[in-house]
């Protein structure tokens, strides 16, 4: 479960090899140029109808057109609002439940069976059920995203709280820390690396599910819906532009949200050296 975060930190570490920035950019761009060139060759070669396999300039043109007339930003905004709402709920409940489970044995015994029954079922399998119960629209989408993203958060927070060294807790108590300070100064910082991993995994999970649920729940706006709706009209260029935006948002979530956040908390508190 933890390996994704580990892998991506290795990826960033190895990207920053010692040679010059220009060479680095060239080296990163090279594979994209090769693949883009292949794509263009196939698209212009006339093997497939251009409706199904549009050249990249057509995708770029659609991208520019949809951005300028405000359709694409609207889709992006709605998707992001759903993602933040769902993820905020998941973080709130997940961290709370995880901490309670980690601190109290009774709560752990009570909640663990529910968590272990719920976790192995893929989130999307609940989607039709949520749609029936809550009706189509935003409510089931946000609820499902929150529900699915909560599991890694709960699990990692729970592990993190349990991994806080007993001796830290006891020495703090011996020095007269009350419950509040124990929590604020020992348990929270101690469990934070795990909690951050959980949040990161939860966000990745939320992102994967959100695109799927937007296709299933009849929401009027949203990137998943944009792609799915474009299928009806064989607008492959719109679909590919949508996928490109999804990739950009996914990358931005990782680079702009999590890496700085981790830097700000975990590294600053000295729980992890970057």
């Amino acid at each position: 479960m933890h390996d994704i975060a580990e892998v991506s930190s290795i990826a960033t570490a190895s990207a920053a090899v010692e040679d010059g920035p220009l060479r680095r950019i060239a080296r990163t761009a090279f594979p994209f140029i090769v693949v883009g060139g292949l794509w263009e060759a196939v698209a212009h070669g006339g093997f497939f109808p251009p409706r199904f396999f549009p050249p990249l300039e057509a995708v770029a043109a659609v991208f520019a057109r949809l951005t300028l007339n405000g359709i694409l930003p609207h889709h992006v905004l709605d998707t992001l609002v759903r993602l933040s709402a769902g993820f905020a709920l998941a973080a709130l409940f997940g961290v709370t439940i995880g901490i309670v489970m980690g601190r109290s044995r009774r709560a752990e015994d009570i909640l663990l069976p529910l968590v272990s029954i719920g976790a192995p079922i893929p989130g999307l399998a609940y989607a039709p059920l949520f749609l029936l119960w809550f009706g189509p629209g935003n409510v089931p989408a946000v609820a499902l995203v929150a529900f699915v993203a909560a599991f890694p958060v709960i699990y990692n927070t729970w592990t993190g709280v349990k991994a806080v060294k007993d001796i830290w807790v006891r020495s703090a108590q011996a020095m007269g820390a009350d419950d509040r300070r124990l929590f604020r100064h020992i348990i929270l910082p101690g469990a934070l690396p795990y909690i951050m991993t959980g949040l990161r995994l939860g966000l990745a999970q939320a992102w994967r599910i959100l695109v799927g649920i937007e296709m299933l729940a009849a929401v009027p706006w949203g990137l998943g819906w944009l792609i799915f709706g474009a299928q009806e009209f064989l607008n492959t260029d719109v679909m590919l532009a949508g996928i490109a935006v999804i990739a950009l948002i996914g990358l931005a979530l990782e680079k702009l949200v999590f890496e700085p956040l981790e830097e700000f908390t975990v590294v600053r508190w000295g729980m992890l050296t970057s």
Partner: protein, 266 residues
């Protein structure tokens, strides 16, 4: 004394755990029977159990499960078949890494489900789309875990083996593969989890008459909530079995036997 206490505590945990499950089931049952919600939307547990039993006995549920397993295993093996060698090559040869890694980091954040509409247009409805989606979902964890596993092999081991006269072949099979195995197994496990999620979504969207995901989606049209819940049970059961039994025993048979468990944990 301490063993006794541990035993007592385990017993207490078990009892509390059972109590939770029973209490939750009882609450659900009470709500379902109270008539606040239509029984079509919230069937009682007895109805769900009967539907599950019936569909298993007349074979439909087994056939759906077989269809889903077939798709997930095809896509998963394809992902191993491509991801594992490519990951090893990435770990061993710098140019391969430089070429594949940027592509992988650009493609990885795209949820596999986003490709479904495109793949449906390209390949038509049916097994091909589902298998390809599963493949896409399972490929990246496999690839990246293998890559970081091979890179994490202690260089001293490589040099020691080289000094003792190991050739490339022996080096590969005796040092690199066992050394990277904790990561590779973690990759397999993650890949399968992803594949399992992806197959359900792909079956819902690229409807194809058979498959557990399709059953759930199809049952929604007819408000057969009992069918939905019983296939959820089957999905959860298969996910649980594969996670605990298959990968758990795989880990025991390889990592622990080779004494690599410490590396796997840290």
């Amino acid at each position: 004394m301490t063993a006794d206490r541990a035993k007592l505590q385990r017993y207490q945990s078990l009892r509390r755990g059972m109590t939770t499950v029973i209490v939750v089931a009882a609450i659900y049952e009470a709500v379902a029977r109270s008539g606040h919600f239509a029984p079509a939307l919230m069937p009682s547990l007895g109805v769900v159990a009967r539907t599950l039993l019936d569909s298993i006995l007349d074979g439909t549920m087994l056939e759906h499960a077989a269809a889903t397993l077939y798709r997930v295993l095809c896509g998963f093996s394809l992902a191993i078949f491509i991801g594992l060698p490519l990951g090893v090559l990435m770990g061993r040869f710098r140019p391969v890494e430089n070429f594949v890694l940027p592509l992988a980091s650009a493609l990885m954040p795209i949820p596999s489900l986003a490709w479904i509409p495109v793949f449906i247009l390209w390949f038509g409805l049916g097994n091909t789309v589902t298998i390809l989606i599963v493949f896409y979902a399972a490929l990246f964890p496999m690839l990246l875990n293998t890559w970081s596993g091979v890179r994490s092999v202690n260089p001293i081991w490589l040099r020691a083996a080289g000094a003792m006269g190991a050739n490339e072949h022996a080096l590969f099979w005796k040092v690199i593969i066992p050394g990277a195995s904790p990561f590779i197994i973690a990759g397999l496990r993650q890949s399968f989890l992803r594949a399992w999620v992806a197959v359900i979504g792909a079956e819902m969207l690229a409807a194809s008459d058979w498959g557990l995901g399709w059953v759930i989606f199809d049952a929604k049209e007819f408000l057969n909530t009992d069918v939905m819940l019983s296939s959820l049970v089957v999905i959860g059961f298969i996910g649980f079995v594969s996670e605990r039994l298959v990968f758990g025993s795989l880990e025991r048979a390889t990592i622990y036997r080779w004494g690599m468990a410490r590396t796997a944990k840290g």
